[in-house]
Amino acid sequence: MNRMSRFNVTAIALGFAFLYLPILLLIIYSFNESKLVTVWAGFSTKWYREVWNNQGLMDAAWVTIRVGLLAATVATVLGTLAALALTRFTKFRGRTLFSGMVYAPLVMPDVIIGLSLLLLFVAAGFDRGFWTITMAHITLTMCFVTVVVQSRLLSMDRSIEEAAMDLGATPLKTFLQVTLPVIAPAVVSGWMLAFTLSLDDLVIANFTSGPGATTLPMKIYSQVRLGVTPEINAVSTILVAIVATGVIIASVLTKRREVQRRRDEQAAFAQ
C-alpha cells in the first residue's frame, strides 16, 4: 500500500478531530470526579449513579424512549405504505402532489413543523403531552422511512411479486410473504433512523409537549441553561453509547451478510 502523504494524514486527523473531539471530551468529563465540568479531578463513575438516582432525568429518558418506540413504529408502517404507493401505483391522480407532500418534512425547518403542529393541536383542542409529541414525531420521521424503503423497492425485481401472484398468492399474501421479507432490511433501517431522529429531536418536542411530558433532550437543554453538570455529560455519554452500538451492530451485520453472500455465490459458480 502507498504511504499516505503528510497532507492526507493531517487532513484526516483534523477532520476526525472536528467531528469527534467534542464528543470525546464529553465522554471523558462524564467520568470526572469533580463537580466542575472543566476541572479534572480523577476518574469516577459517581455521576452515572447520580443519573440513576435523578428521578427527573430518568422520567425524561423513559418518555423519550416510549415516544421513540411508538413514533418509529407507526412512522415505519405509514412510511412503508407511502413508499409502496409511490413505487407501485405510478399513475394515480395527484401522485406528484402526494410525493411532494410526503417529502416536505425532509426539507422543512423543524421550527416551522413544530409551530404549525402546535397551532393545529391548539385549534383541535388536544391536551399537549405524550401523544402530541408522538404524533409530531411520526409526521417528522415518516418521510425518512419512505425514502429508505422506496429506494429498496425501486431496486427490487418486480417479477418476484408477479411470480408469487402467478403461483396463487393474493396481493396481500404476496406482500406479506414475498415483498416484506425482501425489503425487511430497509424497513428495519428506516425504523432505526426514525427512532434516532425522534430521540434527537428538541425543537419539535418543545413546541408540542405539555406539562408532565418532557423528553430527554428537553430536560438536558433546560438543565444546561442553569449550567452544565457532569450528570448531563453522563446522560449524553449513555445516549452516544446507545446510538453508536446500534450503528455498529447494523453495519457489522450488513457487512457480514455481504461477505457471506459473496462467498456463497463464488461457491455456486465454482461447481
Binding site: 418476484i160 408477479e162 402467478d166 396463487g168 410473504q177 425482501v182 456463497d264 455456486a268
Partner: protein
C-alpha cells in the same frame, strides 16, 4: 415407449377442423398510452401443443404472454382458456403458471420453499407438499440442493428451480418467457431437448416466448412469427422456413436470397418472373405469390447451386456471377456471388467430400442455379 418423433409426427390438431382450440386470443388489442403493443390479434393454441411466439424485441410477444398470465389486461378483445373467458380472472386464480425470464426466485426462501410456494397458497397439507416438492426436485435433478438459497446456485440450477416451481402446481398451461435466454450456448441446447421431453411426458401445453429463432425451430410444434403487435405467420417450423408467407418472415427466419422482378406469365402451375436481362426465374406456383405485377422470389442459400460449368438452360434459373466472398465453416462453405446486375447471392455448400484440391476460389466466374421448386414466390 414411443419415440418423441412418432408422437410428434401425428400431432397436428391445427389441421383438424373438429379440434377445439385450448387457448384463443380473440381480436386482442393492448395499448400502453399511444403505443399499441398488441394489435387486434387472434390466435388459437391447442391442448398439448408446444407453441412458440417468435419476434424481435418490442413486437408484443411478451405482452401477449403477460396478458395470458393476467399481469396485463387487454384493452379490448377476449382471451379464452379451456372454454372460459379469462378477462375478469386475476393472475392468482388462473390455471396457468409462468416461468420468468429473470427466474424471479424468492431470494429469502430455500429451493424447497420456492418450489412449494404455490402449493402452500392452495392450502395443501404439509406432507403432500413435501412429497410433491421431492418429486419436482427429482424431475429437475436438484435433490442435493433442496435446502440452498437461490444465491447459492449457479445460473443453470436457478433455471431448473424456476422450472420446477412453475410446474409444481401442475398447471394446464405453462408459460415460458425467454426460458433459456440467460444460459450459455451448450447448456441452452441441452435444456431445449429436456424441455421438449418434459412437455411430452407431462402432456402439458407450453407457450414459450423467444427471440431466438433456432430455439423456436427446435422446440415448438408451431411458431407464431410476430411483428409490430401482429401475427405475421403461424405454422410449423418447416413451413415457416420452407414456405414463408411474406418477405418479412422469409427474411426473419434464417438466411435468404430475395430476387425482385415482374411476373411475365403465370400458367401451367409455373410462374415466370423477369429479374434482370440475364435472369428469368421459373418457379412452381404457391399460395402466396401474385399472378401478375411485381413479385419477389425467395430462396435459401442451401438450395442454390454453384458450378464452373454452364447449366443446360442458361438464363432460366441460372445466372453467371463472380465469387465475391468465401466463408469456410468446416462442415460447409458459404459463397457470396456477385451477379452482373450488382446483386449478391448467398450459396451454401455442404462439404461432403474433401475438396482440398482445386476448390472454387476468389474472383472465379461461376454459374448460380436452382430448381423450379427450390424457392417461393412472394408478394413484393
Amino acid at each position: 415407449m414411443k419415440s418423441l418423433g412418432s408422437i410428434r409426427r401425428s400431432f397436428a390438431p391445427w389441421n383438424d377442423s373438429s379440434a377445439k382450440p385450448y387457448i384463443s386470443f380473440k381480436n386482442v388489442t393492448k395499448r400502453f398510452g399511444d403505443f399499441t403493443a398488441v394489435d387486434d390479434l387472434s390466435l388459437d393454441i391447442y391442448n398439448r401443443e408446444f407453441f412458440a411466439l417468435l419476434g424481435a424485441s418490442g413486437c408484443g410477444k411478451s405482452t401477449l404472454l403477460r396478458m395470458l398470465a393476467g399481469f396485463e389486461t387487454p384493452t379490448s378483445g377476449q382471451i379464452i382458456l379451456d372454454g372460459q373467458d379469462l378477462s375478469q380472472t386475476p393472475p392468482y386464480r388462473r390455471p396457468v403458471n409462468m416461468m420468468f425470464q429473470s427466474y424471479a426466485l424468492f431470494p429469502h426462501m430455500t429451493v424447497e420453499k420456492n418450489i412449494g410456494f404455490g402449493l402452500k397458497q392452495d392450502g395443501m397439507p404439509k406432507d403432500q407438499i413435501a412429497y410433491r416438492v421431492a418429486q419436482m426436485l427429482k424431475l429437475v435433478k436438484l435433490e442435493k440442493f433442496a435446502s440452498r438459497k437461490p444465491h447459492q446456485l449457479s445460473g443453470g440450477q436457478r433455471q431448473r428451480v424456476a422450472l420446477a416451481r412453475s410446474l409444481a402446481k401442475q398447471p394446464k398451461v405453462l408459460l415460458l418467457d425467454e426460458p433459456l435466454g440467460a444460459l450459455d450456448k451448450k447448456l441452452r441446447e441441452e435444456t431445449q431437448f429436456e424441455l421438449m421431453d418434459l412437455q411430452q411426458d407431462l402432456g402439458l401445453t407450453f407457450v414459450v416466448v423467444t427471440h431466438d429463432q433456432e430455439e423456436a425451430m427446435t422446440m415448438a410444434d408451431r411458431i407464431a412469427v410476430m411483428s409490430a403487435g401482429k401475427v405475421v405467420q403461424v405454422a410449423t417450423p418447416a413451413e415457416i422456413y420452407e414456405a414463408p408467407n411474406s418477405r418479412f418472415v422469409a427474411d426473419f427466419i434464417g438466411d435468404v436470397n430475395i430476387f425482385d422482378g415482374n411476373v411475365v406469365s403465370s400458367e401451367g402451375g409455373k410462374t415466370q418472373i423477369a429479374v434482370s436481362e440475364d435472369l428469368t426465374i421459373v418457379a412452381e406456383q404457391n399460395g402466396s405469390g401474385p399472378a401478375s405485377g411485381a413479385a419477389a422470389f425467395a430462396i435459401r442459400p442451401e438450395k442454390v447451386r454453384i458450378a464452373r460449368e454452364a447449366p443446360a438452360n442458361p438464363g432460366f434459373n441460372a445466372v453467371k456471377g463472380e465469387i465475391w466472398d468465401i466463408g469456410y465453416l468446416g462442415d460447409m462453405t458459404i459463397y457470396i456471388v456477385k451477379l452482373a446486375s450488382g446483386q449478391t447471392v448467398r450459396a451454401s455448400r455442404l462439404n461432403a467430400s474433401r475438396e482440398l484440391e482445386n476448390p472454387i476460389g476468389y474472383d472465379e466466374e461461376v454459374w448460380v442455379s436452382f430448381d423450379d421448386n427450390a424457392g417461393v414466390v412472394l408478394k413484393d
